[in-house]
């Protein structure tokens, strides 16, 4: 869709939505939110951008194929699940750093797990939507 209004609006919406998605991601352990919904919002941001500016522009904005986020996120999630193994604990045992950090709260393996989820959800959603609209 070639509309100037949408294009301009989307340029402002994109960073806002992305910021918001990170916000939702990080607070998930304390309030409603988390990796899924955060990832969904981030992907929606990019999809919106793609609707407004065309797929090619969004892709060049991302520099890499979104599919690349999937293995990254999955690896991050798996590593944060396996990390306890170093300390002789079973798979997926929570590890925590004792000091709380503003907004995020406690830093622990669960956070990295959630970030992994976030990345995977972005990668997956964008891959799906981009693929479909490319071959539409």
């Amino acid at each position: 869709m070639k509309t100037l209004i949408l294009r301009t609006a989307s340029n402002y919406l994109l960073p806002l939505l992305l910021l918001f998605s990170v916000f939702i991601l990080l607070r998930g352990h304390y309030l409603p939110g988390g990796g899924f919904i955060g990832g969904l919002i981030a992907s929606i941001a990019f999809v919106l951008h793609a609707f407004a500016n065309g797929l090619e522009n969004t892709k060049s904005l991302l520099r890499t194929h979104p599919g690349f986020l999937m293995p990254v996120g999955l690896t991050l999630a798996v590593i944060s699940g396996l990390a306890p193994g170093i300390f002789g604990l079973p798979f997926m045992t929570g590890l925590w750093y004792d000091e709380a950090i503003p907004v995020i709260g406690m830093i622990g393996s669960a956070l990295f797990f959630d970030i992994g989820v976030y990345l995977v959800v972005i990668g997956v959603t964008l891959t799906i939507i981009f693929t479909i609209s490319e071959s539409a």
Binding site: Y30, L31, P32, F36, V121, V124, I128, T131, I132, S135
Partner: protein, 117 residues
């Protein structure tokens, strides 16, 4: 309210089933989505519902108050929702591909693989 929700669940199932019994591929997938919603609502309902008390521990106390909504069914549904999203996307793409290859979304015309051959 449980009664109404139970009815609603039944309606979702019924609608989903009616839709997947149609001949159109699109209806089929809409039906599956409806069924997915029905299942989610069923888990939600049978896990026990509570009004206005989300399972989020407020600032201060370390545990939830007396009355709160059961968190486990919610977590299960969340997982189920996301999984069905993955499947749905695949299904939707499958419609597209099917239409391209078979040139129809009439399911009745997709039966060559069931011929005795």
């Amino acid at each position: 309210m449980e009664i109404l929700l139970a009815l609603m669940t039944g309606v979702l199932y019924a609608a989903g089933i009616y839709m997947i019994l149609r001949r159109s591929l699109v209806k089929l997938i809409l039906g599956l989505i409806l069924l997915g919603n029905g299942v989610n609502l069923l888990i939600f309902l049978l896990g026990g519902i509570t009004k206005g008390k989300p399972p989020v521990i407020p600032d201060g106390p370390a545990v939830l108050g007396e009355v709160f909504a059961a968190p486990l069914p919610q977590a299960l549904i969340l997982t189920a929702i996301v999984i069905s999203f993955g499947l749905q996307s695949f299904a939707i793409v499958l419609i597209k591909r099917a239409y391209k290859v078979v040139k129809t979304d009439d399911l009745d015309e997709m039966n060559t693989t069931d011929e005795n051959a």
